[in-house]
Amino acid sequence: MKTMNFLVTGVGGQGALLASGILADVGVKAGYDVKKSEVHGMAQRGGSVTSTVRWGEKVYSPLIGQGEADYLLALEKLEALRYVGMLRPGGIAVVGDLGIPPLSVSSGNDVYPGDEEVRRVLSEVTDDYHFIPSIRLAEELGNARAHNVVLLGALSTFIEDVPPEVWLQSIAERVPKKFVELNKRAFQAGREARSSR
């Protein structure tokens, strides 16, 4: 078993921690030793959030250093750029096609990087990056909040050893009951979005 390192990033309140919780659980269900670590923000809304998940035969460190993530799962584009240096050169980045401008941008003091710049920066580390219209797909299913699970669906297509059923079971266990069906469909939508490219 090769150790697999994931870095999940996003903005507070977006559901990055739910995504990393599911990711960790999927690893356990698939029989790996798993460690997950997260930087809890404070109570306020809108800070940057990161979480590391590691699967392996035996995992020691709960953290990884720069260049050690095999997968970057970013729920927001600016947060993808902020942490892309954590990705192993040539690693896989799954990025939600969504921009949330921080206060300094909306107040006009900073500029949010344009899509071309986002692509250029990502491609300096890897060509294997994938924008997923996660919000649009989740909205089509009736709830934009399921965008995190859309992204997990897309990510799951890169991890061939773990069948989709394992992911779906973990999702069913971790999201509130009344949203299980929605999230299962969100997961499928993410898988299809990736394979239709």
């Binding site: 809108g46 460190s61 709960p62």
Partner: protein, 603 residues
Amino acid sequence: MKVLLSGNEAVARGAYESGVRVAAAYPGTPSTEILETLAQYDEVYSEWAPNEKVALDVAIGAAYAGSRSMAVMKHVGLNVAADAFFYASMTGLEAGLVVVSADDPFMHSSQNEQDNRRYAKFARVPCLEPSDSQEAKDLVGVALDISEQFDSPVLLRLTTRISHSDTLVELGERQVEEPTELPEYRIDRVKYVMVPGNARRRHPVIEERIEKLKEFAETFPYNKVEMGDTSLGIVTDGVAYQYAREVFPEASFLKLGMTYPLPPEMIRDFASKVDRLIVIEELDPFIEEEIRLMGIAVEGKNIFPMIGEFNPQIVRQSAIKAGLLPPSAAMEVKQPELETPLPLRPPILCPGCPHRGVFLMTKKLKMVVNGDIGCYTLAFLPPLSALHTCGCMGASIGQAHGVSKAGIAQKHAAVIGDSTFFHTGLPALLNVAYNKSDTVVIILDNRTTAMTGHQQHPGTGMTLKGEPTKAVEFEDVARAFGIDRVHTVDPYNLKEVEGALRDCLEAEGPAVIVSRRECALLPQARKLWMSLRVNEERCNGCGLCFEVGCPAIVKSEQLDAKTGRAKARIDPLLCTGCEICAQVCARKAILFREEMIKEGESA
């Protein structure tokens, strides 16, 4: 069955399984989830105390009464509880007492990165350190056993990374028989009354205890030798062990589960078997200094940083720099070039935060503000820049009293959160009343301990277990202290805040302003959320509302024809409708709720 638990959840589970009966804490990142998790077990009595000293006294009392107990706090909480920690070390206890301290290397959410292993040595108390959640759970029981065997409190030291990492844990059952009848309280005046005569008798006892614990540590199963290549021997503890194992897969290890006191023979033996001995530990050179005191040659902080948190990369690069690893051991890293630095996302007061109203007015009156710790500390940031000191919990009122006695040209006040007021603000307010200063104390009563994730406190009328209880009124407290000038204001009403401030600043003598409005994230507040809108015809882009510092107010693409400045726009997904910006706008360009509702009706 193995389950993923955070270190904090594991500590709670460990307390449950090992028969803890009473647990008390004051919230503080990264320790807060321990009591929140423990509260789910009906077999354990658990509570939020107003501060860490009270929490520790409660746990000590329970242990004096013969029940296993636990007190939990973040690292700086042990400063507050230090007095209790020291006397408990002197007296010992009738049943196990574990004191959990969660340290915060890198200060993810703290004002300093003190290393609380120093407290263990300072108070002659053994210190245990887990390196993952399994150990976090197991070491609670081990700590209680040691506590009972050696008649001493035991410090269980966590760090943020242990507290907030999930690793696999094997669950067990609760190992305790519930008593059928109440135990007799055992009275032992010589042991428990720390008057000088008795204390002089106890001091040799606790020095001897540490000597015995040293012997115990020699065979303590959580002090583990893992021999590998003997050219390098690594002594390590806590999460640093995990990083070290990853970076030096071949080396020999002495992993310490007890970092105070250390086992001298075990260390001497390990040192003699390796060519080069190094210590890998976060923060202070605590283990390193202890080993050096044994007369053993050792390296540590000459190689690895003393500041901040470790990760495998930091350990690896420090090792490469010191020649412990070849340069080829470095990871391939691509740090992409950026056209401009990425905009940051610092924490910031939420849209609709009630604290904002108070700081806008202290700023308007050009007041110096001695601040405190909580969400409201963020008012120090521009554009508000309205809070001017933050040292430790409860400091604001004492500082403001000192400022008042020293005398300054500007108007000034102390600003303190409701939870912080109960924590350590109470005696300071008493001092203001007693020693008659002109201090104005503003209590930000947002009905919760918001910063740490919304915990109950004595003003909320709810306990940790969610039971209703008496809610303390700040106004009553102030009057009981002898402060007659007491105002209650709604921070969403800027005129009201300003009026109260002016009244208090003009008058002589102490004054209290209670600013009452619940945190915008509480469920009852969320129910009232609605978004306001900017009337773009009325807005001329003057920018006054941007000074409110609300994340929901953004610069619109529309420019004012005359001034060429960007007009304001309100993000409907973020705005809660607090109307603070609407009151600031001189051109009435931001529609109040009532206007919004009318508009909705006519549309």
